[in-house]
């Protein structure tokens, strides 16, 4: 078996400037901090980040914002990060706001091989600008396209060597379906368990979608 466990440095060598990054987490909960810190040790930037939010200044995904590594953010909320708002107003950061449920489904659709979804959310608001609408069963829906990315960077609680993942409580959030939508999916894990050490019913993300694992080096 090809080993999925890589070092932090091997991880960061995989990520080029300009890459599109799906990053798990909700206001920092469930965000892969080690991976973000490792990227910040390099001078890489110009990333397009797709995530629920940009957390707080210099915290979680906010670190990538504060240190100006992001050229575009596709998120549902930026209210907790004044740095994001400031860079957006200055024009150095493009922010695309997507309703949270729509963002979740668009990413899931990308990972599940669907072209998109039909949702009532955003109809009649500025969210519908530039989008097609469709009538089905007497109701109107927005056609929202699927999202995929070069990388999905996840934070998981446990993994076995194959890459089966579990998550800690509300840290599940966007991590589960983002796992499917990265051309290369990399999970930062808290704990490695032996193969067979997870009950098959407890596996939240099956290993087929996880390409690499990273854990804090024990030095």
């Amino acid at each position: 078996m090809k080993k999925k466990m890589v070092s932090l440095q091997e991880f960061s060598e995989k990520i080029p400037s300009g890459a599109t990054l799906l990053i798990g987490g909700f206001l920092g909960d469930g965000t892969p901090d080690l991976l973000i810190d490792e990227i910040l040790k390099t001078d890489k930037g110009d990333f397009t980040v797709i995530a629920n939010d940009t957390a707080f200044p210099n915290q979680g995904i906010g670190k990538l914002i504060t240190q100006k590594r992001v050229k575009k953010a596709i998120v549902s909320h930026i209210g907790t990060n004044p740095d994001t708002q400031k860079q957006m107003i200055e024009g150095s950061l493009v922010v695309e706001l997507v309703p949270q449920g729509t963002l979740a489904e668009r990413i899931r659709a990308g990972g599940f091989g669907l072209g998109g979804i039909l949702t009532p959310t955003g109809l009649g608001t500025i969210v519908e600008n530039g989008k097609s609408k469709i009538q089905i069963g007497g109701r109107e829906y927005l056609i929202e396209s699927a999202i995929k990315a070069d990388f999905a960077l996840l934070k998981a609680k446990k993994a076995d060597w194959y890459g089966n993942l579990t998550f800690a409580y509300t840290a599940r959030n966007f991590n589960t379906f983002m796992a499917f939508a990265g051309d290369c999916t990399i999970a930062e894990i808290d704990e490695l368990v032996p193969i067979g050490g997870l009950n098959p019913e407890d596996v939240v993300v099956p290993h087929a979608v996880v390409h690499f694992l990273v854990r804090r080096s024990r030095s």
Binding site: L27, S76, T80, M88, P99, A104, A168, Y169, N175
Partner: protein
């Protein structure tokens, strides 16, 4: 004029009477969060938070927080017995699919048709819609909980929203410190007013036309 802190308590206490036993409810940030403190005895509601938890309990005591058990405002919360954890896709499946009995949200503006604007002020404040658009579109009942006027004293209930709408789905109820309006087919209907105010005063604080319910009564506190 009711002082702000007192107003918040009044609003939350009144909203808390809207639920039936067993309701699944999502409370927004701000005044809506306070609603949980006023649920009448004998009524059990299940709190949903959009980051992936149904059955949310109060903030744990200091020192007993878990970094990965949080609400949508990033505060530490707890599990009540019978809780369930899920990802954001399932969480919004519950919301969009009509599986929430109610959501309580703040507002920047509500207009006389019952339309809500609560997520941005163009050129000034653009926090993003987060989960608000899905909540207003999908919850079975949408309750607005807000102070009657904004910090400058201007009415938040207006003829027509000037700010970008959150949804074209109308809200069901508006609760302020002075008044309760239900949203009918034809527009706003004042059903209750506070003992500190009068219908005339409420008209003065409201920039929208409203009908008066024949059973108009004073808000019970």
């Amino acid at each position: 004029m009711i002082a702000e802190e007192k107003a918040k308590g009044y609003i939350a206490r009144r909203v808390a009477k809207e639920f039936e036993d067993g309701d699944v409810v999502n409370l927004g940030i701000g005044i809506p969060t306070l609603v949980a403190n006023y649920i009448p005895s004998g009524i059990q509601i299940f709190l949903h938070t959009e980051n992936g938890l149904l059955g949310m309990g109060p903030n744990p005591s200091a020192g007993y927080e878990h970094p990965n058990l949080r609400n949508a405002g990033s505060s530490s919360v707890s599990f009540l017995p019978g809780s369930a954890i899920f990802d954001s896709a399932v969480s919004f499946g519950l919301i969009r699919g009509g599986h929430l009995d109610a959501t309580v949200l703040g507002a920047l503006e509500v207009d006389e048709k019952g339309l809500l604007a609560n997520w941005m002020v163009p050129g000034k404040m653009i926090p993003g819609m987060g989960g608000a658009m899905d909540l207003v579109t999908g919850a079975r009942r949408v309750i607005v909980a807000m102070t009657h006027v904004n910090k400058n004293g201007s009415p938040k209930i207006v003829k027509s929203c000037m700010l970008p709408l959150t949804s074209i789905r109308k809200v069901d109820l508006i609760v302020t410190e002075y008044a309760v309006f239900k949203v009918s087919e034809t527009g706003l209907v004042l059903t209750e007013y506070s003992e500190e105010s009068s219908v005339e005063e409420i008209k003065g604080l409201t920039a929208a036309h409203f009908e008066i319910d024949p059973q108009l009564k004073v808000i019970e506190r």
